[in-house]
C-alpha cells in the first residue's frame, strides 16, 4: 500500500467515524425529543446528572430525602458515616432510602 493510498484510507476512515457518530448524535437527539413528548404523560422517573464537583454534591445531600422512622437526625448521620466508612464509598455516592429504628424502648 502506497502512502497516497494510506492517506485516502485514513480520510475515508475518519469521515466514516464522523458519519456514524454524527448520525448517532442526530438519532439520539430525535429520540430524546420523541421520548420527551411521551414522558410528559408518563410518570417521570428521572435521575439528575450532577454537573458540579463531588465536594459540592456532599453538601447538597440533604437528609430530607431520607425516610427516618423513629431515628433522630444525628443518629441517622452517624449511621450514614459508619456505612460510608465501612464500605469505602464516599458519602456523596451513597444513596440511603430509609433508616428506621427497631424498638428504642
Amino acid at each position: 500500500m502506497t502512502v497516497w493510498e494510506g492517506i485516502l484510507v485514513a480520510i475515508f476512515c475518519i469521515s466514516m467515524v464522523f458519519f456514524v457518530l454524527i448520525g448517532l448524535s442526530l438519532l439520539i437527539k430525535g429520540f430524546s425529543f420523541i421520548l420527551g413528548i411521551f414522558s410528559s404523560q408518563m410518570k417521570q422517573d428521572t435521575t439528575p446528572v450532577p454537573a458540579q464537583s463531588e465536594t459540592v454534591l456532599e453538601n447538597e445531600l440533604s437528609l430530607g430525602i431520607l425516610k427516618l422512622k423513629d431515628v433522630d437526625e444525628p443518629t441517622a448521620a452517624m449511621i450514614m458515616a459508619i456505612v460510608s466508612d465501612e464500605s469505602g464509598i464516599p458519602l456523596s455516592e451513597l444513596c440511603f432510602k430509609s433508616i428506621k429504628l427497631l424498638r428504642q424502648d
Binding site: M1, G6, V9, I22, L24, I28, S32, T47, V49
Partner: protein, 378 residues
C-alpha cells in the same frame, strides 16, 4: 546415576537455555511491574501483562506451548489464551465496562459524539505514518488503533489483523492510557487560550431513565447495522449498559462489573503479556510501535481539542474546548485531566461531567473506527 540425574535436571533447567534476549525481556517485565505498582500505570491490566511477559520469557517453562498431540496437555497459558485468540475476552471486558458506564452526560448533550469522533484523528495520522514506515496495512491499522486510547478495542482489532504485534500494541495502549495526565496537559495549553479554558459550561439537562434504557438499544441497532464487524464490541458494551440502566437485573450488572470482568482481566492480561516472547518483541518494530502509539495519542488529543475549538466558536463560547481532549476515551482519566486543567484556569470551573460525554463517546468512536478498519482489512 546421581550425576546423570543432576545433569538431566541441569539440561532441562532454564539456566542452560537462557539467552541475553530472555534477560532483556525479564528486565522489561520488571520495569513494567515497577510502572504498574509504583507509578500506578493502569495496574489492573499492566500488572498481569507484565507478569505474563516475565513467565513467557523464563525459558522452557512452556506455558504457552500448544499441546503436542490431542491426548497431551498444552501449557496453562495456551488454554487461557484461547479466549484472546477467539476474541472472547475483549468483548466480555466491554460487557463489564458497559455495566460501569453512565452514558447520561452523552445523552444530555449528543454533540459530545462529535468530539468523540474528532479524537480518533490520531488513528488516521498514525495509520498513514505506519504505512509510510513500511508496515503492511493490517499492521498499520492495528498500530493506529492505539490512538483510540481503548485497550480492549486495540486487543480485539490486533488479534484479528496482526496477532504477532499484540504484546507491543497492548503494552503501548495501556501505558499511554496511564500517561494521559502527562501527555495531554501540554497540548491542551498549547492549543487553547486561557480565555477558552476559563469557559464555564451550563449545567446538563436531566436525562430520563427511559432515555438511558433506549440508548443502548438504539446504538446497538444503528452501529451493528452500519458496521457488522463491530458487533462483539458494541453489542456487549451496550448489553452491559442495558443491564445497568434497566434496573431490573442488578445481579447480572454486578457480576458483569466484578467477578466476570476481573476473571477475564486476569486471564487477558497474563496471556497477552505471555505473547511477548523475545523473538517477536525485541525487534525494531516494537520501538516503531511505541513511537507511533505516542504520536497517535498526541494527534487524537489534538483532533479532539481542535474540534472543541470549532464547537466553541460555533456555539459562541458555550463549549469549553478542553472537553474535546477527553474524547480520546481512556475513561475516566481523560475527563479528569480536562477537569483539572479547566479548574487551573478558573477555580469555579467544573468540567468533569461535561467531559464525561466526549469521554464515553470516545469509547464508541474507537470501536467504530476499529469496525471500519476491520471491514477494510479483515
Amino acid at each position: 546415576m546421581f550425576i546423570e540425574a543432576l545433569h538431566e535436571i541441569w539440561k532441562t533447567s532454564g539456566f542452560m537455555a537462557l539467552t541475553w534476549q530472555h534477560v532483556v525481556m525479564i528486565i522489561v517485565a520488571c520495569v513494567l511491574i515497577y510502572l504498574a505498582i509504583v507509578k500506578k500505570f493502569e495496574p489492573l491490566l499492566l500488572l498481569p501483562i507484565a507478569f505474563g511477559v516475565l513467565l513467557a520469557n523464563l525459558p522452557l517453562a512452556g506455558l504457552m506451548a500448544e499441546p503436542a498431540s490431542a491426548s497431551e496437555a498444552g501449557g496453562l497459558l495456551y488454554y487461557l489464551y484461547l479466549g484472546v485468540k477467539k476474541g472472547i475476552y475483549p468483548s466480555l471486558i466491554f460487557l463489564g465496562i458497559g455495566a460501569m458506564t453512565d452514558f447520561g452526560p452523552l445523552i444530555a448533550r449528543p454533540s459530545s459524539l462529535l468530539l468523540g469522533a474528532g479524537a480518533q484523528f490520531g488513528i488516521c495520522i498514525a495509520f498513514v505514518v505506519a504505512v509510510a514506515l513500511g508496515f503492511a496495512p493490517e499492521e498499520a491499522a492495528s498500530i493506529a488503533i492505539i490512538g483510540g486510547a481503548d485497550g480492549p478495542t486495540a486487543i480485539f482489532l490486533t488479534t484479528r489483523l496482526a496477532p504477532e504485534l499484540l504484546p507491543a500494541i497492548a503494552i503501548a495502549a495501556y501505558s499511554y492510557m496511564a500517561l494521559i495526565p502527562m501527555i495531554q496537559p501540554p497540548i491542551m495549553k498549547a492549543l487553547t487560550t486561557k480565555k477558552e479554558r476559563e469557559i464555564e459550561m451550563s449545567q446538563l439537562r436531566e436525562v430520563s431513565k427511559l432515555e438511558k434504557i433506549c440508548f443502548p438499544i438504539v446504538v446497538t441497532i444503528v452501529c451493528v447495522l452500519l458496521l457488522p464487524s463491530v458487533a462483539p464490541l458494541i453489542g456487549m458494551l451496550m448489553l452491559g449498559n442495558l443491564f445497568r440502566e434497566s434496573g431490573v437485573v442488578e445481579r447480572l450488572s454486578n457480576t458483569a462489573q466484578n467477578a466476570l470482568i476481573n476473571i477475564v482481566t486476569i486471564f487477558l492480561g497474563v496471556t497477552v503479556g505471555a505473547t511477548a516472547v523475545a523473538e517477536n518483541f525485541l525487534r525494531p518494530e516494537t520501538l516503531k510501535i511505541i513511537g507511533l502509539g505516542l504520536m497517535a495519542f498526541i494527534f487524537s488529543t489534538v483532533g479532539g481539542l481542535l474540534l472543541g475549538k470549532l464547537m466553541c466558536w460555533l456555539t459562541k463560547g458555550k463549549i469549553n474546548p478542553l472537553i474535546g481532549s477527553a474524547g480520546v476515551s481512556a475513561v475516566p482519566m481523560a475527563a479528569r485531566v480536562a477537569q483539572i486543567e479547566g479548574q487551573k484556569a478558573n477555580p469555579a470551573n467544573f468540567l468533569l461531567m461535561h467531559a464525561m460525554g466526549p469521554n464515553v463517546a470516545g469509547v464508541i468512536g474507537s470501536a467504530v473506527a476499529a469496525g471500519i478498519l476491520l471491514s477494510l482489512f479483515g
